[in-house]
Subunit: 141 residues, 2 copies
Protein backbone atom coordinates (compact mmCIF):
# COMPACT_ATOMS: atom_id res chain seq x y z
CA UNK A 1 0.00 0.00 0.00
CA UNK A 2 1.52 3.32 -1.05
CA UNK A 3 0.41 6.92 -0.92
CA UNK A 4 -1.16 7.10 -4.34
CA UNK A 5 -3.25 3.98 -3.70
CA UNK A 6 -4.53 5.63 -0.56
CA UNK A 7 -5.26 8.88 -2.34
CA UNK A 8 -7.07 7.03 -5.08
CA UNK A 9 -9.13 5.36 -2.38
CA UNK A 10 -10.07 8.70 -0.86
CA UNK A 11 -10.94 10.19 -4.19
CA UNK A 12 -13.18 7.28 -5.07
CA UNK A 13 -15.15 7.92 -1.92
CA UNK A 14 -15.65 11.53 -2.94
CA UNK A 15 -13.31 13.00 -0.38
CA UNK A 16 -11.06 15.96 -1.05
CA UNK A 17 -7.36 15.37 -1.29
CA UNK A 18 -6.22 18.17 0.99
CA UNK A 19 -2.54 18.60 1.79
CA UNK A 20 -3.32 17.96 5.45
CA UNK A 21 -4.85 14.60 4.71
CA UNK A 22 -2.00 13.68 2.46
CA UNK A 23 0.50 14.54 5.13
CA UNK A 24 -1.38 12.54 7.75
CA UNK A 25 -1.35 9.58 5.40
CA UNK A 26 2.37 10.02 4.78
CA UNK A 27 3.01 10.00 8.50
CA UNK A 28 0.96 6.83 8.90
CA UNK A 29 2.74 5.20 5.97
CA UNK A 30 6.14 5.98 7.44
CA UNK A 31 5.19 4.79 10.93
CA UNK A 32 6.52 1.46 12.06
CA UNK A 33 4.14 1.18 14.94
CA UNK A 34 0.73 2.55 15.91
CA UNK A 35 0.83 6.23 16.83
CA UNK A 36 -1.27 8.34 19.15
CA UNK A 37 -3.19 11.30 17.76
CA UNK A 38 -0.75 13.60 19.51
CA UNK A 39 2.26 11.88 17.95
CA UNK A 40 0.65 12.08 14.54
CA UNK A 41 -0.04 15.78 15.13
CA UNK A 42 3.59 16.46 16.02
CA UNK A 43 4.86 14.64 12.94
CA UNK A 44 2.36 16.40 10.70
CA UNK A 45 3.38 19.73 12.18
CA UNK A 46 6.93 19.24 10.96
CA UNK A 47 5.70 20.09 7.50
CA UNK A 48 2.42 21.86 8.29
CA UNK A 49 2.95 23.73 11.54
CA UNK A 50 -0.58 24.92 12.01
CA UNK A 51 -2.55 21.76 11.51
CA UNK A 52 -4.42 21.36 14.78
CA UNK A 53 -5.30 18.20 16.65
CA UNK A 54 -8.92 18.77 15.70
CA UNK A 55 -8.03 18.10 12.09
CA UNK A 56 -5.97 15.08 13.06
CA UNK A 57 -8.87 13.55 14.96
CA UNK A 58 -11.35 14.34 12.22
CA UNK A 59 -9.12 12.86 9.57
CA UNK A 60 -8.48 9.73 11.60
CA UNK A 61 -12.22 9.31 12.07
CA UNK A 62 -12.78 9.64 8.37
CA UNK A 63 -10.04 7.15 7.58
CA UNK A 64 -11.39 4.74 10.17
CA UNK A 65 -14.83 4.89 8.59
CA UNK A 66 -13.32 4.16 5.21
CA UNK A 67 -11.56 1.19 6.70
CA UNK A 68 -8.13 2.59 5.85
CA UNK A 69 -7.05 3.13 9.45
CA UNK A 70 -7.55 1.03 12.54
CA UNK A 71 -7.63 2.16 16.13
CA UNK A 72 -6.08 0.06 18.86
CA UNK A 73 -6.62 0.76 22.51
CA UNK A 74 -3.62 0.19 24.71
CA UNK A 75 -3.62 -0.59 28.41
CA UNK A 76 -4.36 2.51 30.42
CA UNK A 77 -6.76 3.65 27.72
CA UNK A 78 -4.42 5.26 25.20
CA UNK A 79 -5.69 5.07 21.64
CA UNK A 80 -3.29 4.55 18.76
CA UNK A 81 -3.77 4.52 15.04
CA UNK A 82 -2.19 2.75 12.11
CA UNK A 83 -2.91 2.04 8.49
CA UNK A 84 -4.84 -1.16 7.87
CA UNK A 85 -2.17 -2.94 5.92
CA UNK A 86 -3.06 -6.44 6.88
CA UNK A 87 -4.90 -7.55 9.99
CA UNK A 88 -2.43 -7.74 12.84
CA UNK A 89 -2.09 -7.59 16.58
CA UNK A 90 0.62 -6.28 18.87
CA UNK A 91 3.07 -7.34 21.47
CA UNK A 92 3.36 -4.28 23.69
CA UNK A 93 6.16 -3.53 26.13
CA UNK A 94 4.88 -2.24 29.46
CA UNK A 95 8.28 -0.64 30.08
CA UNK A 96 9.01 1.44 26.98
CA UNK A 97 5.65 1.30 25.26
CA UNK A 98 7.06 -0.01 22.00
CA UNK A 99 4.85 -2.36 20.05
CA UNK A 100 5.75 -5.16 17.71
CA UNK A 101 3.12 -6.41 15.32
CA UNK A 102 2.41 -10.05 14.68
CA UNK A 103 0.04 -11.55 12.13
CA UNK A 104 -1.40 -14.41 14.20
CA UNK A 105 -5.07 -14.32 15.07
CA UNK A 106 -6.74 -16.23 17.86
CA UNK A 107 -8.82 -18.04 15.29
CA UNK A 108 -9.77 -21.11 17.27
CA UNK A 109 -11.00 -18.97 20.09
CA UNK A 110 -13.05 -16.78 17.79
CA UNK A 111 -14.64 -19.88 16.31
CA UNK A 112 -15.53 -21.21 19.75
CA UNK A 113 -17.11 -17.93 20.72
CA UNK A 114 -19.09 -17.59 17.53
CA UNK A 115 -20.36 -21.14 17.93
CA UNK A 116 -21.37 -20.51 21.54
CA UNK A 117 -23.22 -17.27 20.68
CA UNK A 118 -25.17 -17.85 17.49
CA UNK A 119 -27.33 -14.71 18.01
CA UNK A 120 -24.33 -12.49 18.13
CA UNK A 121 -23.14 -10.95 14.86
CA UNK A 122 -19.37 -10.88 15.30
CA UNK A 123 -17.79 -7.92 13.56
CA UNK A 124 -14.30 -7.77 14.92
CA UNK A 125 -11.93 -8.48 17.73
CA UNK A 126 -8.99 -7.03 19.54
CA UNK A 127 -6.10 -8.93 20.93
CA UNK A 128 -2.89 -7.69 22.48
CA UNK A 129 -0.14 -9.25 24.52
CA UNK A 130 1.71 -7.34 27.24
CA UNK A 131 5.01 -7.84 28.95
CA UNK A 132 8.57 -6.58 29.00
CA UNK A 133 10.89 -6.49 26.02
CA UNK A 134 14.48 -7.69 26.15
CA UNK A 135 15.90 -4.18 26.50
CA UNK A 136 13.63 -3.22 29.36
CA UNK A 137 14.41 -6.47 31.15
CA UNK A 138 18.12 -5.72 30.91
CA UNK A 139 17.54 -2.17 32.14
CA UNK A 140 15.61 -3.43 35.14
CA UNK A 141 18.30 -5.91 36.15
Amino acid sequence: MNLSDLLTGLKEKGLKLTPQRQQILRVLLAAEQPLSAKEIGILVNKRFPNVGLGTVYRTLDTLKQLGLVSETVFPGGGRRYELCREHRHHLVCLGCGRAVAFPFCPADCLAKIAAANPDFDVRGHSFAVFGYCGECRKAQA
Copy 2:
Protein backbone atom coordinates in the same frame (compact mmCIF):
# COMPACT_ATOMS: atom_id res chain seq x y z
CA MET B 1 -15.11 -14.89 46.38
CA ASN B 2 -17.19 -12.99 48.90
CA LEU B 3 -16.89 -9.68 50.71
CA SER B 4 -15.17 -10.96 53.80
CA ASP B 5 -12.52 -12.76 51.76
CA LEU B 6 -11.83 -9.51 49.99
CA LEU B 7 -11.70 -7.56 53.24
CA THR B 8 -9.34 -10.11 54.74
CA GLY B 9 -7.15 -9.68 51.69
CA LEU B 10 -7.05 -5.91 52.15
CA LYS B 11 -6.30 -6.19 55.82
CA GLU B 12 -3.44 -8.57 55.21
CA LYS B 13 -1.87 -6.00 52.94
CA GLY B 14 -2.05 -3.41 55.69
CA LEU B 15 -4.85 -1.39 54.13
CA LYS B 16 -7.63 0.24 56.09
CA LEU B 17 -11.12 -1.17 55.78
CA THR B 18 -12.94 2.07 55.23
CA PRO B 19 -16.67 2.06 54.58
CA GLN B 20 -16.01 3.57 51.15
CA ARG B 21 -13.76 0.72 50.14
CA GLN B 22 -16.22 -1.81 51.44
CA GLN B 23 -19.00 -0.26 49.45
CA ILE B 24 -16.91 -0.18 46.29
CA LEU B 25 -16.16 -3.86 46.78
CA ARG B 26 -19.84 -4.60 47.32
CA VAL B 27 -20.69 -2.85 44.09
CA LEU B 28 -18.05 -4.83 42.23
CA LEU B 29 -19.26 -8.06 43.80
CA ALA B 30 -22.82 -7.37 42.74
CA ALA B 31 -21.87 -6.38 39.20
CA GLU B 32 -22.54 -8.82 36.42
CA GLN B 33 -20.32 -7.07 33.95
CA PRO B 34 -17.36 -4.72 34.03
CA LEU B 35 -18.28 -1.21 35.13
CA SER B 36 -16.83 2.18 34.35
CA ALA B 37 -15.48 4.34 37.17
CA LYS B 38 -18.46 6.63 36.71
CA GLU B 39 -20.93 3.77 36.99
CA ILE B 40 -19.20 2.51 40.11
CA GLY B 41 -19.34 6.02 41.54
CA ILE B 42 -23.08 6.28 40.92
CA LEU B 43 -23.74 2.91 42.55
CA VAL B 44 -21.53 3.75 45.52
CA ASN B 45 -23.32 7.06 45.92
CA LYS B 46 -26.61 5.28 46.51
CA ARG B 47 -25.38 4.45 49.97
CA PHE B 48 -22.61 7.04 50.40
CA PRO B 49 -23.74 10.14 48.55
CA ASN B 50 -20.56 12.11 48.96
CA VAL B 51 -17.94 9.66 47.86
CA GLY B 52 -16.23 11.41 44.97
CA LEU B 53 -14.83 9.93 41.80
CA GLY B 54 -11.36 10.68 43.11
CA THR B 55 -11.86 8.08 45.79
CA VAL B 56 -13.28 5.62 43.29
CA TYR B 57 -10.25 5.95 41.04
CA ARG B 58 -7.83 5.74 43.93
CA THR B 59 -9.51 2.66 45.32
CA LEU B 60 -9.61 0.97 41.94
CA ASP B 61 -5.90 1.66 41.52
CA THR B 62 -5.19 0.13 44.90
CA LEU B 63 -7.28 -2.91 44.14
CA LYS B 64 -5.64 -3.31 40.77
CA GLN B 65 -2.21 -3.25 42.38
CA LEU B 66 -3.32 -5.91 44.81
CA GLY B 67 -4.51 -8.00 41.90
CA LEU B 68 -8.09 -7.99 43.16
CA VAL B 69 -9.50 -5.94 40.31
CA SER B 70 -8.75 -5.98 36.60
CA GLU B 71 -9.14 -3.18 34.12
CA THR B 72 -10.43 -3.88 30.63
CA VAL B 73 -10.23 -1.32 27.87
CA PHE B 74 -13.18 -1.17 25.55
CA PRO B 75 -13.24 0.16 21.99
CA GLY B 76 -13.30 3.93 21.94
CA GLY B 77 -11.02 3.97 24.96
CA GLY B 78 -13.48 3.40 27.80
CA ARG B 79 -11.97 1.67 30.81
CA ARG B 80 -14.02 -0.75 32.86
CA TYR B 81 -13.32 -2.59 36.06
CA GLU B 82 -14.31 -5.89 37.55
CA LEU B 83 -13.23 -8.20 40.31
CA CYS B 84 -10.65 -10.77 39.31
CA ARG B 85 -12.76 -13.82 39.85
CA GLU B 86 -11.32 -16.02 37.19
CA HIS B 87 -9.56 -14.93 34.05
CA ARG B 88 -12.12 -14.10 31.39
CA HIS B 89 -12.74 -12.10 28.26
CA HIS B 90 -15.78 -10.39 26.85
CA LEU B 91 -18.13 -10.38 23.95
CA VAL B 92 -19.13 -6.74 23.65
CA CYS B 93 -22.15 -5.38 21.82
CA LEU B 94 -21.35 -2.30 19.75
CA GLY B 95 -25.00 -1.32 19.87
CA CYS B 96 -25.97 -1.38 23.53
CA GLY B 97 -22.56 -1.76 25.13
CA ARG B 98 -23.50 -4.83 27.10
CA ALA B 99 -20.77 -7.38 27.66
CA VAL B 100 -20.96 -11.10 28.12
CA ALA B 101 -18.00 -12.85 29.67
CA PHE B 102 -16.52 -16.05 28.36
CA PRO B 103 -13.77 -18.12 29.91
CA PHE B 104 -11.90 -19.13 26.72
CA CYS B 105 -8.38 -17.86 26.23
CA PRO B 106 -6.58 -17.65 22.93
CA ALA B 107 -4.03 -20.10 24.25
CA ASP B 108 -2.61 -21.41 21.00
CA CYS B 109 -2.02 -17.90 19.79
CA LEU B 110 -0.30 -16.90 23.02
CA ALA B 111 1.94 -19.92 22.73
CA LYS B 112 2.90 -19.03 19.16
CA ILE B 113 3.74 -15.49 20.16
CA ALA B 114 5.79 -16.51 23.14
CA ALA B 115 7.72 -18.97 20.99
CA ALA B 116 8.36 -16.34 18.32
CA ASN B 117 9.59 -13.77 20.86
CA PRO B 118 11.83 -15.52 23.36
CA ASP B 119 13.29 -12.23 24.69
CA PHE B 120 9.90 -10.92 25.61
CA ASP B 121 8.63 -11.61 29.12
CA VAL B 122 4.90 -12.06 28.58
CA ARG B 123 2.86 -10.83 31.53
CA GLY B 124 -0.66 -10.69 30.28
CA HIS B 125 -3.00 -10.26 27.38
CA SER B 126 -6.27 -8.70 26.43
CA PHE B 127 -8.81 -10.13 24.10
CA ALA B 128 -12.28 -8.95 23.22
CA VAL B 129 -14.78 -9.71 20.53
CA PHE B 130 -17.11 -7.06 19.13
CA GLY B 131 -20.34 -7.21 17.23
CA TYR B 132 -24.08 -6.86 17.62
CA CYS B 133 -26.20 -8.80 20.05
CA GLY B 134 -29.49 -10.42 19.10
CA GLU B 135 -31.59 -7.62 20.55
CA CYS B 136 -29.70 -4.86 18.78
CA ARG B 137 -29.92 -6.75 15.50
CA LYS B 138 -33.68 -6.99 15.89
CA ALA B 139 -33.88 -3.30 16.74
CA GLN B 140 -31.91 -2.39 13.63
CA ALA B 141 -34.09 -4.46 11.34
